[in-house]
C-alpha cells in the first residue's frame, strides 16, 4: 500500500508572500490522500529544486501570484535539470494569463492551472498522471 503514496511539493518561488492559495492547495492535496511538503514563502528556484530532490517528490506544484512566473518557474526546471531530476512533474498555478501557457510549457512546465482553476483540477491531474502511472507500474 505504501508504494502508492504520491509525494507532492507545494513550492512558492519568488517574493510573493500571499500564501492563502498555497496553503489551501496543500490542505486540499493532503485531503486527497497525498503526502504534501510545503516550502513556505520566498523561495529561490534552487531552494525549491533541492527540496524536491531531497524529498524525492513525484510532483511540484508551484504557486505565484505576482506575475513573476514567466521568469521564475522555468528557473525551477533548470535547477532540477542541474540536479538530474527534471523527470519530476512541475505544475504551475497562480495568476497566469493564457498567453503565458505555451511559453511555460516550452520551458518544461508540464501543466498550467491559471485563473478559474482550483485545487480540484490539480488533484485530478495528479491522479490521472502520477497515480495512474504508479498503478500502471
Amino acid at each position: 500500500m505504501a508504494d502508492k503514496v504520491v509525494r507532492v511539493l507545494v513550492g512558492k518561488p519568488g517574493l510573493d508572500g500571499h500564501d492563502r492559495a498555497a496553503k489551501v492547495m496543500a490542505r486540499a492535496l493532503r485531503d486527497a490522500g497525498f503526502e504534501v511538503i510545503y516550502t513556505g514563502i520566498r523561495q529561490t528556484p534552487a531552494q525549491v529544486a533541492q527540496t524536491a530532490v531531497q524529498e524525492d517528490v513525484d510532483v511540484i506544484v508551484l504557486n505565484n501570484l505576482t506575475g513573476a512566473h514567466l521568469e521564475v518557474f522555468p528557473l525551477v526546471v533548470e535547477e532540477l535539470k542541474k540536479r538530474g531530476r527534471d523527470d519530476i512533474y512541475v505544475l504551475a498555478t497562480g495568476v497566469i494569463p493564457f498567453e503565458d501557457v505555451e511559453p511555460l510549457k516550452e520551458k518544461g512546465i508540464d501543466e498550467v492551472f491559471g485563473p478559474g482553476t482550483g485545487p480540484i483540477h490539480v488533484i485530478n491531474w495528479i491522479k490521472e498522471h502520477v497515480l495512474g502511472e504508479k498503478q500502471g507500474e
Binding site: G17, V24, V72
Partner: protein, 560 residues
C-alpha cells in the same frame, strides 16, 4: 415605541402560524442560513430581537460623537465625499508617474502607491532575489532619486499620498520627506499614509523582514516621529484587508486588526508618549466583501469597539483618539476570472456597503484584476463606480441611512460581541505578538480559509459563473493584459550603478554606521538617522541591510 414584549409575542405567533405553514409548503433554501462568521441569520428581525438593555444613545449616539457607531464626522458625505483613491503603480517610477497624472486628471483625489516586492522587502533591484520581481506588482524604488521621478510634477503640498509599504516603511517615509524638502516643501504640510502595519504581515501578507519585537520598535519610532515632525501624516494604516483576503471571516478581520492596533498603542505608550498625542493619527484599512449587510454591520461594530478600547482601556480624552477612520478596498479575492464583467457588479455592491458603512476613502477593484494588472479602461470603470454611488445613488445624502435597521443593528451587536471574545482571548495570550509567535492567529485564519474553499468546492456556496451559471463556451483567452516592462530590472540596475558612482560613498558609509549604532540602542528614534542616510543617497537595500544585521530576520512558525 411599541412594547418589546408585545412585539415578541406577535413574532412568536407569526413564526408558528403564517411562517411555519409557508415553510411546510415551500421549504427554505438553506437550513440554517449562516454568515461566514458563524452567526445564524433569523428569517426576520424586529425591535424585540435587540438586546433587552439595547439603548439608542449608548449604542448608536450621534455621528461625530462617542461611540461613533453612525460615523466619525458630524456631516459625513453631506460635506465632502469619501476620498476616491485607486491603488496604482508598476514598472519604473516614470511609468507610475504617468499613471498618477492620468488618475489626477480623471478626478481622483488622492494618490496611492504600490511598490514592487523587492522594495517591500528591502532589496535593491540588483539583488539576486529580485529576479523576475522588479516592477511587477508595483513601482521599483531603490533610492530617493527614484522617488523624485515618481512624484515629478506632482504638488506634494496639495495631494495626499498613501503608500502600501510595511517592513521598510520608515525608509520610504524618509524618502518622501527628503523629496519634499528638496523641492522646498516643509515636512509639516505633508499629508498621506504609510501602511506600516507589520503584525498583519506575519499573519496574512507575508512581506515581513525583521522579527516582531524590533519591528514594533521601528513602528513606534515612526509614529512618535510623525507626531512631532510630520503632524498631518498618518504613520500607520492598521490593516484588516489582507487578513480578510487571506481567508478570515468578517469578525476575525476586525478582531485581529484591532488586536494589532492595541499592540501598537501599547508600544508607543510604553515608550512614554501620551495616548492623545498620537492616537488621532492612527488609521485603518478594511476589505469590503460580498455580504452586504454583514459588511455594513462590520464597519459600524469596528468603530464602536475601537472607541471603547481607546476610551476605556487606554484612557484617551480626545474624541479624535477614539475615532476609527478607515480606508476600504473592495475584496480582491471575490473577483472571478470567469465572466469577468460580473466583477463590475460585485465591486459596485461591495463599494456601496463600504460607503453606507461610513468609509473615509475607497479603492474599487478593476474587473480584470483576477487575470492580471488592470488596464486603463478597467481602472476607469472602477473609478466611475464610485462616482455613480457618490453622485447618482443618493446614499451619500444622508448619514448612516441604514442605521436603525433591526437586522443591521442586531448584526452590529453580534459582531461586536464576537470581536470582544477574540480580543479577550488574545489578551490572555499576552497580546498579538505572542499570539502570532505561537501561530494562533495564523491557524484561525487558515482554518476559515479552508472552510470557505471547501464550501465553494462542494457547491454549498455559490459563486456565479464559477460553480453555478457557468458559461461552457467561455473563452478565457480573449483578454488584454497589461504587462510590466521586462527591462525594468536592467534599467534600475543601471541607475543604481550610476548612483553609487556619483554619490559620496564615504559619507554614505559613515551615516550607515551611525544608523547601525542607533539601531543597537532601543531608545533611540531611528527616523532622523534614516532620513540623513536617504539624503546622502544610501539605497533602500543598504539601509535595510544595516537593520537586518542588528535586528535579524523573522522565520515564521509552521502553520497550515
Amino acid at each position: 415605541m411599541e412594547d418589546r414584549k408585545k412585539i415578541a409575542e406577535v413574532k412568536e405567533d407569526w413564526l408558528s402560524t403564517d411562517y411555519a405553514k409557508f415553510v411546510a409548503k415551500v421549504p427554505e433554501r438553506k437550513q440554517p442560513f449562516m454568515l461566514d462568521s458563524g452567526i445564524e441569520i433569523d428569517p426576520l428581525y424586529t425591535p424585540a430581537d435587540l438586546d433587552e438593555d439595547w439603548s439608542y444613545l449608548e449604542r448608536l449616539g450621534f455621528p461625530g460623537r462617542y461611540p461613533f457607531t453612525r460615523g466619525v464626522y458630524p456631516t459625513m458625505y453631506r460635506g465632502r465625499f469619501w476620498t476616491m483613491r485607486q491603488y496604482a503603480g508598476f514598472g519604473t517610477a516614470e511609468e507610475s508617474n504617468q499613471r498618477f497624472k492620468y488618475l489626477l486628471e480623471q478626478g481622483q483625489t488622492g494618490l496611492s502607491v504600490a511598490f514592487d516586492l523587492p522594495t517591500q522587502l528591502g532589496y535593491d533591484s540588483d539583488h539576486d532575489l529580485a529576479i523576475g520581481e522588479v516592477g511587477k506588482v508595483g513601482v521599483a524604488i531603490d533610492s530617493v532619486e527614484d522617488m523624485h521621478v515618481l512624484f515629478d510634477g506632482i504638488p506634494l503640498d496639495k495631494v495626499s499620498t498613501s503608500m502600501t509599504i510595511n517592513a521598510p516603511a520608515a525608509i520610504l517615509l524618509a524618502m518622501y520627506i527628503v523629496v519634499a524638502e528638496e523641492k522646498g516643501i516643509d515636512r509639516k504640510v505633508l499629508r498621506g499614509t504609510i501602511q506600516n502595519d507589520i503584525l498583519k504581515e506575519y499573519v496574512a501578507r507575508g512581506t515581513y523582514i525583521f522579527p516582531p519585537r524590533p519591528s514594533m520598535r521601528l513602528i513606534a519610532d515612526t509614529i512618535m516621529f510623525c507626531a512631532e515632525e510630520v503632524p498631518k501624516w498618518n504613520p500607520i494604516s492598521i490593516s484588516g484587508y489582507h487578513i480578510r483576503e487571506s481567508g478570515s471571516t468578517a469578525v476575525q478581520e476586525i478582531a485581529f486588526t484591532l488586536g494589532d492596533a492595541i499592540e501598537y498603542v501599547k508600544t508607543v505608550i510604553e515608550k512614554g508618549m501620551d495616548v492623545d498625542k498620537f492616537a488621532a493619527r492612527l488609521s485603518f484599512f478594511f476589505a469590503s466583501h460580498n455580504n452586504f449587510f454583514e459588511e455594513i454591520a462590520k464597519f459600524r461594530a469596528a468603530r464602536r469597539v475601537w472607541a471603547k478600547i481607546m476610551k476605556e482601556k487606554f484612557g484617551a480624552q480626545n474624541p479624535k483618539s477614539m475615532m476609527l477612520r478607515f480606508h476600504t478596498q473592495t475584496a480582491g479575492s471575490t473577483l472571478t476570472a470567469q465572466q469577468p464583467l460580473n466583477n463590475i457588479v460585485r465591486v459596485a455592491i461591495q463599494a456601496l456597503a463600504a460607503v453606507i458603512g461610513g468609509t473615509q476613502s475607497l479603492h474599487t477593484n478593476s474587473y480584470d484584476e483576477a487575470l492580471s494588472l488592470p488596464t486603463e479602461e478597467s481602472v476607469t470603470v472602477a473609478l466611475r463606480t464610485q462616482q455613480i454611488i457618490a453622485y447618482e445613488s443618493g446614499v451619500a445624502d444622508v448619514i448612516d441611512g441604514i442605521g436603525g435597521s433591526y437586522y443591521v443593528e442586531k448584526l452590529t451587536d453580534e459582531i461586536e460581541k464576537r470581536v470582544w471574545e477574540y480580543l479577550d482571548k488574545i489578551e490572555k495570550m499576552g497580546g498579538m505578538v505572542p499570539a502570532i509567535e505561537e501561530g494562533y492567529i495564523q491557524q484561525e485564519i487558515t482554518d476559515a480559509a479552508y472552510q470557505y474553499y471547501k464550501a465553494v468546492a462542494e457547491g454549498e456556496k455559490v459563486v456565479v459563473g464559477v460553480n453555478k451559471f457557468v458559461d461552457p463556451n467561455e473563452d478565457l483567452t480573449k483578454f488584454h493584459l497589461h504587462r510590466a516592462d521586462p527591462t525594468v530590472r536592467e534599467k534600475q540596475i543601471r541607475k543604481l550603478k550610476e548612483l553609487r558612482a556619483k554619490r559620496d560613498n564615504q559619507k554614505v558609509r559613515k551615516l550607515l554606521d551611525e544608523l547601525k549604532k542607533a539601531a543597537e540602542d532601543e531608545n533611540t528614534n531611528l527616523m532622523p538617522y534614516i532620513i540623513e542616510a536617504v539624503r546622502a543617497r544610501a539605497t533602500l537595500g543598504e539601509i535595510t541591510d544595516v537593520l537586518r544585521e542588528v535586528f535579524g530576520e523573522y522565520r515564521p512558525p509552521v502553520i497550515f
